[in-house]
Symmetry: C2
Subunit: 200 residues, 2 copies
């Protein structure tokens, strides 16, 4: 139908999340018709560059160019609180509220027995290691209010019971079934404020 180079470009964009065949066609034609060769080169380069330079922060496991990341190494952040989230986008959503001043921990997923995702497949051990020096006083579990997210929160809260640390769950001000990433700021602030204890 199209020439090989166009087909390949469409196919590449089609594989990205949230992009169907028509959107991929649209993007491919936009690049071919409206982008300069230089701009296309810059775009291609930023994909390669990001992929090469981005790694996980040795502490919070968030995506970063420098480890420790900017949040973990900031003297302004409250190092006694860790907010545990599923994905880097969740850090972004909570940071956008400008209300939370603690640290984060990115699990890179949630427990999901159906998909074969167990405790060793997400960054739970890395979380435990951060609690050994006693500096952390509270762990806020801000996994998504889904079945998997809730199960992950319960699992972690049990794992943390031997530690001298308060374990809380972000409040269900967030509509059940949707993602933290898409919550509005006010809902997120309320949900953080009314977090409830999970270990009594």
């Amino acid at each position: 139908m199209y020439s090989a180079a166009i087909e390949e470009l469409i196919e590449k964009f089609e594989r990205l999340p949230g992009i169907g065949h028509r959107s991929a066609e649209r993007i491919a034609f936009y690049i071919l018709e409206h982008m300069s060769e230089e701009d296309a080169g810059v775009m291609a380069n930023s994909i390669v560059r990001a992929k090469k330079t981005i790694r996980l922060c040795e502490h919070c496991q968030n995506l970063t160019e420098t480890s420790p990341c900017a949040i973990c190494s900031s003297p302004k952040r409250d190092k006694s609180t860790i907010c545990v989230v599923e994905r880097p986008e969740d850090v972004s959503a909570i940071e956008n509220t400008h209300e939370y001043m603690g640290l984060y921990h990115v699990l890179h997923g949630a427990l999901s027995p159906m998909d074969g995702v167990g405790p060793d497949d997400i960054k739970i051990n890395e979380l435990l290691l951060r609690l050994t020096d006693g500096e952390v006083k509270e762990v806020i579990l801000a996994t998504n209010p889904t079945v998997n997210g809730t199960a992950t929160a319960v699992y972690i809260s049990k794992l943390l019971s031997p530690f001298d640390v308060k374990v809380t769950r972000i409040a269900h001000g967030i509509p059940i079934g949707s993602d933290i990433e898409y919550a509005d700021k006010i809902t997120l602030i309320k949900a953080m404020e009314s977090r409830t204890p999970m270990n009594g």
Copy 2:
């Protein structure tokens, strides 16, 4: 908020059509978290390669790697009919019906006085040049049923009046106000079949 390389990647995707900030974030994190460095390289490369190798067909002005393009150089196509469309996506939509066997002409836009797009800004002269040898017997104007698309069809039909060629307009089986690109196959087939003469 994010590190520079992530911000840049998000910003690049945000510039593509139909992709908002959240979608761009999602895509960027997908690339960073779920794509191998090799796959990301292949994707980057396909952008650069497509941009480098794709040009316009010397006859129909469609995007192609080889000029003349596969359709223009196919012995199976009926060279007496040219279907004029606004964009390469429209060729794709009509080809998907597998009913039309003539040639195409891609204008790369429509006349739009409000946006300063005049006859010299789209491929109208290139269309006229294709009619000089007398081989073409019919020109089907399949520009979009929008104000600009209709104005473009009327303008071209007047330009073609000196030529010994039948000028037809794709039928308005296509819902007014939407794009040819998004019409379903049956509607497109019906609309092509019931095309109506524009020059008496």
